[in-house]
């Protein structure tokens, strides 16, 4: 099915919405604004309402989504997005608020933010939380800026941030954005930070170590207390990329492990939908010593009133306008309340059980580079299949024919032909089995079938090289 572009459907004279008549004097714009400031032409498309609805509905049908099937994307925590959260976030009393409306007229919103911050602090073992960052990487940037401000306040200028070779790309990119030199530390044979290597790298020029725990191989960094001791001894800080927090909910807290900062991904761990790439939300929790540097404003409670406090002398300022992705915060808040503290732990337990169950099913069919208990995800290698000319990409594309979204592939970078699988707690054993059956069957399929997959999608494999060589980034007449 080929769906035309709105520009190709457009026909002169059609309108898609009815607007109110002008009830004030209809002055010519030229009388209000100098003519040189006015545009001559507005080349937008012209469609009627039924055409618009049909077009975008048809587009939606070309998408795979959590609501249509299993989405085992490693590192992405594609869990079910509860419907009540959506309903709550669209309540006029929570959705239709101006960010600058007076404090006395947004007490409910401020209370929600205050309580969410408290809950997140409790879950992560942190002392203070900002809800301002709009996504995980934005939380990282905020964290890096806070680390920098913290050292400056102590009269120190440190230049390095240590990051494992298995880290998400955002980690080194965020460190660099804040002017830090990202130094890579190798993983050991068990898939965790190589402590010997780390010891060699840590000195008094190291501002922080950025770690994901469990790491991107889905393995818990068992030496975490030692790692914390090493960096703290050198006066540095320990940053936690909370992308994989789903494995730890109610089980263990990064704050207790020695982490000084932690960002949460509400669009992963806390069930808010990914929206085809966003919006996310990346609140950042910090330990007491770093709290004075958090972005402004902070929501504070005074007696029974909630206030926005802008009066923070050491604050790094702001990383975006207003207070954060409030609509996303509402959904995460609703999710936390529907879980309660018992439900929270069940999430982690079931996510980890699902991952281990699934991993176990692949042991005889795929190379498993790190064969030990995993947390919420695990990484297979397509190395065996590669010997007969089949790449991880081919396996991924073939899974689509079986009705599944492919896992994350070629990441983490330290595993050859990586297939990174995260089932989440919201999948049933039956779904896991069907997925395992498919992936095992694919391991034995012929090269030709795999290379030409997927076979039943609206388009086949697309020429990405051509797209990059001669970028066509917008429609032209």
């Amino acid at each position: 099915m080929r769906e035309k572009l709105v520009f190709e459907i457009s026909k002169k004279g059609r309108v898609g919405v009815s607007l109110p008549r002008c009830d004030v004097p209809e002055e010519e714009p030229e009388r209000l604004i100098p003519e040189r400031c006015l545009r001559k032409d507005l080349p937008l498309p012209e469609l009627s309402e039924p055409e618009i609805i049909r077009h975008f509905t048809r587009l939606s049908q070309l998408n795979y989504a959590v609501d249509t099937g299993f989405y085992p994307l490693g590192s992405c925590t594609m869990k079910y997005n509860p419907r009540v959260n959506e309903e709550i976030a669209s309540l006029p009393g929570l959705a239709r608020l101006h960010p600058y409306q007076p404090e006395e007229l947004c007490q409910g919103a401020l209370r929600l933010m205050y309580e969410l911050g408290e809950y997140l602090a409790q879950i992560g073992g942190m002392d203070a939380v900002t809800l301002q960052p709009a996504a995980g990487a934005h939380g990282e940037l905020t964290g890096m800026l806070i680390i920098r401000a913290y050292f400056l306040s102590k009269g120190q200028k440190r230049h390095k941030v240590i990051i494992p070779d298995s880290a998400h790309g955002t980690n080194p990119a965020s460190a660099a954005l804040c002017g830090y030199q990202a130094v890579e530390v190798k993983s050991d044979k068990k898939g965790c930070v190589d402590i010997g290597e780390l010891n060699k790298l840590v000195d008094d020029d190291v501002a922080a170590i950025m770690l994901t725990n469990p790491n991107t191989l889905g393995l818990f960094e068992g030496n975490i207390l030692e790692i914390a001791a090493i960096v703290h001894r050198a006066g540095g800080l320990l940053y936690c990329d909370g992308a994989n927090l789903n494995a730890l909910l109610g089980v263990a807290r990064p704050g207790d492990m020695g982490f000084d900062l932690l960002h949460f991904n509400l669009h992963k761990t806390f069930s808010t939908p990914h929206g085809g790439g966003g919006p996310g939300s990346g609140p950042l929790g910090v330990k007491k010593a770093l709290a004075p540097f958090l972005p402004v404003p902070l929501v504070v409670k005074q007696g029974k009133r909630y206030l926005l406090n802008y009066n923070c002398l050491l604050s790094i300022g702001k990383v975006r306008s207003f207070y954060g992705n409030f609509g996303v915060l509402v959904k995460a808040y609703a999710y936390l309340l529907s879980l309660g503290s018992e439900g929270l732990r069940q999430v982690a337990e079931n996510a980890v059980l699902n991952a281990n169950y699934l991993m176990n099913r692949f042991k005889d069919h795929y190379h498993l580079p790190y064969d030990r208990i995993c947390k919420h995800e695990f990484v297979l290698s397509g190395a065996r299949q590669k010997k007969r000319g089949i790449r991880a990409l081919d396996i991924a594309k073939r899974l689509i024919d079986y009705g599944f979204h492919p896992p994350t592939i070629y990441f983490p970078l330290i595993v050859n032909e990586a297939l990174m699988i995260e089932p989440t707690e919201t999948e049933s054993r039956q779904t896991l089995d069907r997925f395992a059956d498919a992936l095992i069957k694919i391991a034995g399929e012929d090269v030709k079938t795999l290379k030409s997959a997927p076979h039943h999608t609206p388009v086949g494999r697309l020429d990405e090289a051509a797209a990059a060589r001669e970028p066509n980034l917008r429609w032209k007449k």
């Binding site: 190395a383 070629y410 050859n416 990405e464 090289a465 990059a468 060589r469």
Partner: protein
């Protein structure tokens, strides 16, 4: 795959020496490994290359790699054709896909470069590590 008469760097560039100048490109293995090449960033004529240091980048649609200078010296010519047709690096890595010509500053540096046979061995080792 690895023509005679060229010298090879472990970082997968080749060097073809003519008098005191050397033509530089990437090997069959390098272009195969990168996949479909989509973009090349090259130095200006006159730039100074330092052996072992990066002098440009090459992109496929999902990877970025750097070119490393097989020898030191001043760039006297660059292959402008690569700008519009980066796929030449895939199609003809030893011919039309050449990258630049460098004025060789220190011929002694060439001693560390590999012969076609040694380079082929080196590539095999790399593939085994994977």
């Amino acid at each position: 795959m690895y023509p005679e008469g060229l010298k090879y760097a472990k970082t997968h560039e080749w060097l073809k020496v003519e008098d005191n100048e050397g033509k530089v490109g990437i090997t069959y293995y390098a272009q195969d490994h990168l996949g479909d090449i989509t973009f090349v960033e090259l130095p200006q004529v006159g730039a100074e290359l330092i052996k072992g240091k990066s002098f440009g980048t090459v992109e496929s649609f999902k990877a970025v790699s750097e070119f490393y200078a097989p020898v030191s010296g001043k760039v006297v010519q660059v292959n402008k054709g690569l700008r519009d047709n980066p796929e030449l690096l895939n199609q003809d890595p030893y011919g039309q896909g050449w990258i630049l010509v460098v004025e060789i500053a220190n011929p002694a540096e060439m001693e560390e470069l590999l012969s076609p046979g040694d380079y082929e061995q080196w590539v095999k080792q790399q593939e085994e590590v994977e």
